[in-house]
């Protein structure tokens, strides 16, 4: 049904990959929030959010990214967003998220960004 949403977690070395699937709205945003909170609590601040299967996002979903980004960056990590379909990208762009977040093509590219950051720093 059209308000189903799932978030699943995979660990690749020190990078946490959160895979979003379905509809991210005010009803389902708490599930996503909980999943990121878990990573932060565990001190895992290199987070990739894979949006390949995310078919819808409203401001409630965007709000989750906003709540955590500062804390995660201060801890030396980042949230990299990847695999965003055009319809969802449009929503990111309406509010200017593309200039505040690192949005890349896929998981390997997101992982590469973290590697770069580690070398550079």
């Amino acid at each position: 049904m059209a308000n189903s949403f799932a978030v699943s977690n995979a660990q690749h070395g020190e990078i946490s990959i959160l895979m979003l699937d379905g509809f991210l709205d005010a009803h389902t945003a708490p599930d996503f929030e909980e999943a990121i909170q878990k990573e932060v609590n565990a001190g895992r601040t290199k987070v990739v959010v894979n949006c390949e299967k995310l078919t819808y996002i409203s401001s409630a979903g965007l709000g989750v990214f906003m709540t955590f980004i500062e804390e995660i960056r201060e801890a030396g990590g980042d949230i990299k967003i990847c695999g965003v379909i055009p319809k969802v990208m449009q929503v990111f762009e309406i509010l200017g998220f593309h200039s505040l977040f690192d949005i890349v093509g896929d998981v390997p590219q997101a992982a590469a960004k973290f590697a770069e950051g580690a070398e550079g720093g």
Partner: protein, 145 residues
Amino acid sequence: MVSSFEKKFVLHLPSSTENLALIRDFVSKIGAQAGLEQGQVSMIELAVDEACANVIEHAYGSDQTKEVIVRARLNEDTIEIQVEDTGKGFDPGTIEQKELTKLIAERRSGGLGMRMMQMVMDEVQYSIKPGERNELRMIKRLKRS
């Protein structure tokens, strides 16, 4: 497909975020039936989702026994959406539209919904009578596919 008379649709439903999917579907079906571009339908769906999420969370403070009303009027050139509640209301003029970077610095997740509606729709207008009848009227000028 375009008819000369106005088409009116109304949806009443319990104030719960679990109904947002139903509300988006209602808008999406009306839009598709009117022959609107899929991209435009998606944007109207988004605005209505934001409006209803605000009613559910703010006007009614997540009291699921309350009712949200969504009206859609489809004309030749516009779709007009009206979202109604009898909740606590607010003064939209006092809601500061902060910079995104400021919100981030303050670790606030809120304050995006009204901005989204404004970006997406051509007109957004509140009429507030707390506890009696609060209305949000949004208009979008149509592009047909």
